[in-house]
Every structure is written in C-alpha cells, then in structure tokens.
Amino acid sequence: MSRRLSLPPARRAWLDVALRVTAAVFGGYVLTYAATAALARLLPLARFDAAMLATLLSFALYTGFVLWAFAAASVRRVWLGIALSLPLAAVGFWPVWFGGAS
C-alpha cells in the first residue's frame, strides 16, 4: 500500500503497480475475450448454447484473472499469462481467420 510505495525504490513500486493495473484491466479483458471465444468454440453444445454459456461465465473468468494478476509473484508472469490470448484467440476464431465461414 502507500506505506510500501513510499519506500526508497518508490518509483519502481509505482511502475510495478501501473504495469499490474494495465495488465489486469486491459490485458485481462483481452485474455477473457480470447478465452470466451475459445470456450464458445470448444463447448460440445449447440452454437447458441455454447455462446451463451461462455459469455455468462466470462465475468467470473475476468474476476479470477484480475485477482491473480495482483497476487502473482511478478508482473512478467502476468504478461506471460496474457500472451495465452493468442493461441486462445486462434482456437476461437480459427474458422473466421482461416476457413471462411464457420
């Protein structure tokens, strides 16, 4: 907290906080978006049901990620987690990107 931030390497601490907040809020959204798309694609349900279920769960996913982003040992690890968005998005949008209509 602020007590921590006022320690000598205060600037480093601020940077850490800024990076974590950015990672949690924006990176978290991107990751949740990709994960929701992938989940909707992979769920063995009718198209509509899969889309509904994945979307309804997305807010819990986002919450979980935000908590982890602030608990993780280092910011680097958080950004590595966010990098998972790429493969997840590839799963979710595979037919859109590579195969024309799904």
């Binding site: 949740t32 929701t36 909707a40 198209r47 889309a51 509904m52 919450t63 859109v96 209509a101």
Partner: protein, 524 residues
Amino acid sequence: MSGNRTFRQSMSWLHGWAGLLLGWLLFAIFLTGTLTVFDKEISWWMQPELRDTGVDQPTAARFAQDWLAREHGEAAVWSIGLPTERSPVLKVSTGEDRRAERLVLDPESGARVPVRDSVGGNFFFRFHYSLHLPRTLGIWLVGLAAMAMLVALVSGIVIHRHLFRDFFAFRPVGSRRAWLDGHNASAVLLLPFHLMITYTGLVIFFLIYMPAALDALYGGDRMAMLREASPGAQAVAGGMDRGDQRSRDGASAREAPPAELLPLESFIVPAEALFGSGMVASLRVRHPGRANARVEASPLLGSRIALTKGEAAVFDGVSGKLLQAPAEKRPSALTQRVMAGLHFAQFGGYPMRWLYFLCSAVSCAMIATGLVLFVIRQRLKVAEANAGQGFLRLVETLNVGTLAGLMLGCVALLWAARLLPADLAGRAGWEARLFFAVWALAFVHAWRRPPMAAWREQLWAAALLCMGLPLLEGFSAPSLDKTRLLLELCVFLCGAVLGWVAWRVGKASAADGVSRSLEGAMRC
C-alpha cells in the same frame, strides 16, 4: 508491490484500492439502484396530479379506444398503458416513438388529466445504469465499477480471517471497531446478495460487455444470434425484431382497406391467458381501423422471474386471432433472462420489492463504511508518517460529497418535484439540473469545511429534508393516498436514521473520540 508479499497482503491491497477508487461510483450506482426498486411509486409521488380512480382494465381499454378513435383516428400506432397495481392510471400515446409523451386520461371524467412534467423515479433508473452520461459511455463505466465490485467482494472474502466469528461481534456503539464491524457485518450478512446483484447486473448487458462468443460464432451478428434464442420460432415477437416488422408493414398500411377494430377490452382476457391474471401492462395497436390492424399485448415485467422486457403477444385486430405468442426460449437464453430478472426485481410483488430494497440498502451501507474505513486508516498513516495530507483531504472530501452529498441530492430532487412551478417550461430538465447542482454544491461544501463538520452538516441537511418531506403535502394540491403516504413515511424514517448518524458523528467529534476510534480500527 513486489514478489515477497503473501497472497492475503496482495488481496488486501487490491481490496483497499479497488474499493476506494471505484467505491464512490459504486455507492452512487447502488444508492440509485436501491431507489429504483420503488421507481413507479416515486414517479407517482412526484406527480401529485395523478389519482387512483379505481378503474378496471376493460373499462380503461374501452375508454382509451373511444378517445383515440375520436382524437387520433388517423394515427398509425396507438399505445395504451393500462392501469396496473403500481401505476393505476390510464396513459395513451400515438406514433412509433416509445418515449413519446404519454397523456393521462381519466375514464371517469372523460378528460385529459394535466400532469406536471417530471423526471420521475425513472431518473434514478437511468442514473443507475448509465449515470446520465451518453448511453454507451455510461454503460461501460457502470460495467467497470461492477467488475471492481466483484473483485472487491472476492478479495474481501480472501482477506477476511474470521468470517463468521466477526459477524457475531458487532459492537455498534461506543466501540473503537464499530466501523470495521459494520463493514464486515454488512458484507458477510448479505454476501450472496452482493454477489448476485453485481453479477446479474453485468449479465444484463452481457453481449455489449463481452461480445467474444458473438464475434467468434456469429461473426458479430447480434440479430442472427438472438434469432436462435427460441427453437423453431421464425419471427420472435420480442423488441429486437420489431424493426423489420415495422418496415414490412409500413408499405401495406396505406393500402389496407378500412375495417372495424374489435373492442380492445376483448384482447385482455386472451392476453391474460398467456401472461397470468392481472399481468397485462399495455396494448399497442398498429393500423387501427384498417384490415391489417394488429394488437400487441405486453406483460407486466413481474409476470415471471425471467425478465420479459420486449416480449408481446400479437393478435389480429379485426378477427381477434392470436398471431404470435411470446416464443418459448431455449434453456440457455432463459438462464440469461432469469439472471436479468433477478436483478430487475419485478417479480414477487411488494414483499419481494421490500426485501430487495432492504438488501440493497445494506449493500450501500457496506460500500459507505468501507470508504469511511479507508479514511480512518489513512488518517493514522498520515499521522505516523506526517505525509500525504493532501491525498487524505481529497479522499475525505470525495467521501462526504459522494456519500452524504448524493443522499442530499436525491431528497432535493423530491423537493424540486413538488416546489418547482407545475407549468414551468422544460420542467423535468430543471429537476435534473437541481439534483446535479445540489450534489455539486455538496462537494464544494465538503472541500471548504473541516471533514467532521462537513459530515455533520450534510447529514443533518439530508435528514431534515427527508423528515420534512411530509410537510410538502400541505403546499401542493391534496393528493395524499396510500402510496404517497407510505413513501413519505419511508423517507421520514430514512431521515430519522440519517439524523441518528449525524448525531453520532457530532457526538464523536465533540468528544474527540474519532482519532481514538481510528486507532482501534487500525489495530484490528
């Protein structure tokens, strides 16, 4: 924040800052949401010209049809809001615009009732989901706050050491830990409610907030997705598809030959067969007096738990045949509607409404005590480190202006509804401006006055305005009925509670017990 902190420490940090930075916004959203539970009753109170004439729906429908045929025979659309339990008046409008001004008719006297232009309880509803900002921006800000609320709730559970022991340890008066106890008790007691109301709030706009699955599986085509919500239904009677229907019918409207419209009252019984007895809220007639006349009956929002906004049954206006019943939804679509319905709280009648009101009041109290707690701890830190006074002052100002100031603004809106001249041009706009002006002044006042004095004065002002509300009845036309009396009583009681808090704050600061109680709070 670096790696060597425990999980609980990280969560505590997150809880404190997420709770602080979005706590002000959250309090505003929760308080207006709490008031929205009784939006129709507040609207009723704000328009003292409205009177419950006890007219039943068939009589009202018959009268509306005669009146509309006489005054607006050529209109393409008639909308008729039937008298219902919470809004026992007949309202009519013409034209496609759903927000068109609705005229109030009195079937007994056969005349229009002149009603003052007022923002009504709808003001709190609009603030609750869009903060009166441009819709998209407002919805996203509220969504961000809701996410912060979820994060704060879950991190709050994590950092709470003795979840249940603490709940039984509420020491409200004379205790140093009263604020912390209050925060914990209000949080733990209604934890399921806090989680439910926050999550379901996000679910209402789920496709706006998280369109990933929509984009991936439907190429972003919302209509295509919603068309699949009901198995086997080609055209859904919901609000989404009306646009097509409208343009399709628009061309044929002029060509259709004249034909006698059935008495509108005859549509109420078949509609009740679909929605339940007393659950028809409104009738909408397209092409009245033409062969292609259509009558749409919409259910009251409380006809079932699932939110029925936008649903309707469509009848042929000439033959009376049912053309389209509300489509049965797929279980997954119904899940979303039920979650939205749990948030809208329109089911279960008045007992459920009171339950939601009390529960959300506790949510407000939890957010408020959390914000106060932050200041109390911050004050100790500032005293220890002798630094950060400016930040503390800012937080204290925002606390007073948001917590006490918003309550002051809300009750000032009620006063404005009765005190502004009834025939003022742009009256509803002035009511809203007054609300925001009072709220803005509260921030200025909080900045200029010492914190404890600002708390005391604003709380007292809000308390007195609340308790004085029944007096207003004397100024305006005699309009007292059960609904208005209950509302005034309820506001009076809220005022009494605020007065009690103001008195406690005054006593605490007089005895200089504040700084001492802070220490206690810090230690625990």
